[in-house]
């Protein structure tokens, strides 16, 4: 297991380098310029000067190598400095956003909490809703519960979040006034009241995203359960006189969760990708908003770094999913 893990990690390095190169070139090649958001009143010469000051004129390979160095050497050093209070990274140039001129990593760290709270908890809520629905749908296959579940899952897939988001806002913020329509990122949970506020402002974005996630995961759960319910060991468990609860929730569930857990793990990187549209609708300003902002503003260092981190997460969680599979299923052995 350990050697397998290490081996996969080592193999991931060339893969990631290649991915980083592709991402870098692709993002670089895309049309658009960091000056697009500046009003047209600013004359051309000034624009050109600004671009020059950003270093955007350097040849692409120079920027790529610089970026590699910054990403793999400078930023880790900065992080170490942050932890141990050392100053190894002093004087080194970090990856700087073209839009805000501040280190990209700092912004990402700043954004991470709200993304994790909103998108993360939406994922958790989605999973928590999806599992029981999937389990029960499978256990009572073709019952009305199952049919209704299927129906809603399909609706969940087919209705875009920009629509559900706006509907929720209209109903719950405008008409009922229960929840705020705008997410306050500077809210600090200190006491019960602020906690309530936090819950309130999370309610709608979480609901929108959770609906979508739940729709998907409940389908996986259902089919996995169906598969396992037909297995011989279920009959064995029943023959032992185990109550249905134990049969389904212990024996079948444990087996069914193996593939589902890996599906869930594979979905985790998407949390870090944020939820572009939902974040925009509720103004959560998480990583998704950061990315879309950066893309629209052609903030290349930001886009490159974000997407590369995303790629790292994908590769990493692929690996984690595989390892999880091995851990959960005693039959699988990696060596």
């Amino acid at each position: 297991m350990l050697t397998y893990t290490i081996r996969r990690l080592l193999l991931a390095i060339p893969t990631l380098l290649f991915i980083s190169l592709i991402i870098f070139l692709l993002v670089d090649f895309a049309p658009g310029s960091p000056m697009s958001q500046i009003p047209l009143t600013i004359p051309t010469e000034v624009r050109l000067k600004m671009i020059e000051a950003l270093g955007a004129n350097e040849p692409v390979y120079v920027r790529y190598l610089l970026w590699l160095k910054q990403f793999f050497w400078v930023e880790p050093l900065v992080m170490l400095d942050g932890i141990f209070g050392t100053n190894w990274s002093e004087g080194m140039q970090r990856i700087v956003s073209w839009q805000s001129r501040s280190p990209v990593m700092d912004i990402i760290w700043q954004r991470l909490p709200q993304t994790l709270t909103v998108v993360g908890s939406a994922y958790v809520v989605g999973v928590l809703i999806a599992l029981p629905i999937g389990i029960y749908s499978a256990y009572r296959q073709y019952s009305w519960f199952d049919q209704v579940g299927t129906f809603f899952a399909m609706i969940g897939f087919s209705v875009p979040t920009f629509f559900t988001g706006v509907v929720l806002i209209l109903v719950f913020s405008v008409n009922l006034g229960w929840f705020p329509s705008i997410y306050d990122t500077s809210l600090r949970v200190r006491d019960w009241d602020t906690f309530l506020l936090q819950v309130k402002q999370m309610a709608m974005p979480v609901a929108v995203l959770a609906l979508y996630n739940a729709a998907q995961i409940s389908r996986y759960m259902r089919s996995s359960m169906l598969e396992n319910l037909g297995q011989d060991y279920v009959r064995t468990a029943r023959a032992k006189g185990m109550p249905e609860r134990v049969v389904v929730l212990k024996h079948v569930l444990r087996n069914s969760l193996i593939p589902v857990v890996t599906v869930i793990a594979l979905g985790i990187p998407s949390i870090f990708g944020g939820a572009i549209i939902t974040e925009q609708v509720f103004k959560v300003n998480g990583l998704g908003a950061l990315l879309i902002n950066a893309i629209q503003g052609s903030d290349l260092p930001m886009v490159q770094t974000l997407t590369f981190i995303f790629a790292v997460l994908i590769v990493l969680f692929n690996l984690i999913a595989d390892i999880l599979y091995g851990l959960l299923d005693p039959r699988i052995r990696y060596d």
């Binding site: 297995q231 011989d232 468990a237 029943r238 006189g241 185990m242 109550p243 024996h251 444990r254 087996n255």
Partner: protein
């Protein structure tokens, strides 16, 4: 065996149908049998003859729908298992009746340790604590002949060979000292040498624990080796029933006869061609009104088409007690 003793298990007129799109499949049709204390009843019959369905109907293991246990009674310990509630039935399963299934590879849950799976019924039915159950589980494993039992409790099923897994299944079935052990083709998936091990084990356990056993198989050789009494099933019905020696020496039903002829012998004279039973097993859709074997029977005559034969004793004892057969021809209707 002890004819006078009250049977531990008494099944009468059991009927099980499956509702399918093509119609109702009458998988078990008026099956009656009993099981005396300490007796080993062998059940033979070809694939699809209803052996497994019969046994699973007894303790409500069939999924419903599509299965529907229509009629009959299953008396065990003075209660009719078909009448009691689902909860009560669960108390019977595993505690009073142990079940061993055919495929040891898939019948154990792959993600729980062998120990966990043996301990489960102990905790549920015997009210043991975890530590007690663990100790008992180790004893059981040792009982079924797995060396270093205590340590192997922590193993997962896939770490065991097929034979060992079947031993584990037996250990589970035996865990709560059941009155009846139902073994559904427990050695079919195993190699001959392993099968021999298991058969030895069961013989030994029988003498040690003295429980009654139903042993399903389609290998007449196995039956010959261990059974006291044999029941032959065909097309969802019991077609012949007799003490083992009687059945082999004096088979009555044409199916039983044919069956005995199809197996090549290991020791006897080698025949040039094997005997075959031509034709296909019956499709059990619709309530049976004729003898299920008539299409393949070399002795079939008009009555077989018209009427489903009743079981009938041929040695003067009551049906089920001695040798009985369900056939018009052997009753003397045909070639006499």
């Amino acid at each position: 065996m002890a004819d006078g003793a009250a049977p531990v298990l008494d099944v009468r007129g059991l009927k099980t149908v499956f509702r399918t799109r093509g119609g109702e499949v009458h998988a078990v049709n008026s099956v009656s049998f009993h099981l005396n204390p300490g007796e080993l009843l062998g059940v033979v019959g070809e694939s699809g003859s209803g052996k497994s369905v019969t046994m699973m109907s007894l303790i409500g293991l069939l999924p419903s729908p599509p299965a529907d246990v229509r009629a009959g009674s299953v008396m065990l310990g003075g209660r009719d298992l078909l009448k009691i509630s689902a909860e009560e039935l669960r108390e019977v399963r595993g505690a009073k009746v142990g079940f061993v299934f055919q495929d040891p590879m898939t019948s154990l849950n792959p993600v729980f340790t062998v120990g966990d799976q043996i301990m489960e019924p102990l905790i549920r039915h015997m009210g043991m604590t975890k530590t007690q159950a663990k100790q008992r589980a180790a004893e059981l494993l040792a009982l079924v002949g797995i060396p270093d039992a205590a340590a192997r409790l922590k193993s997962y099923p896939h770490q065991f060979s097929g034979g060992m897994r079947q031993r584990v299944m037996i250990a589970i079935a035996l865990a709560c000292d059941p009155d009846v052990l139902i073994a559904d083709e427990p050695t079919t998936a195993l190699d001959v040498t392993i099968q021999a091990q298991i058969l030895e084990l069961v013989k030994e356990l029988r003498t040690k624990l003295g429980m009654a056993i139903v042993w399903i198989t389609h290998d007449l050789g196995v039956i010959a080796g261990i059974a006291d009494r044999v029941m032959v099933m065909y097309g969802g019905q019991v077609v012949e029933q007799a003490p083992v020696k009687e059945l082999f020496s004096n088979p009555q039903h044409p199916y039983t006869r044919a069956l005995l002829k199809t197996i090549p012998s290991l020791t006897g004279a080698r025949e040039d061609r094997l005997q075959v039973i031509e034709g296909q097993p019956p499709i059990l859709i619709g309530a049976p009104s004729a003898c299920p074997f008539r299409a393949r029977c070399v002795h079939a005559f008009a009555r077989c088409e018209a009427e489903n034969p009743e079981r009938r004793a041929i040695d003067g004892r009551a049906v089920g007690q001695g040798h009985d057969v369900a056939c018009h021809w052997s009753a003397g209707g045909g070639d006499v």
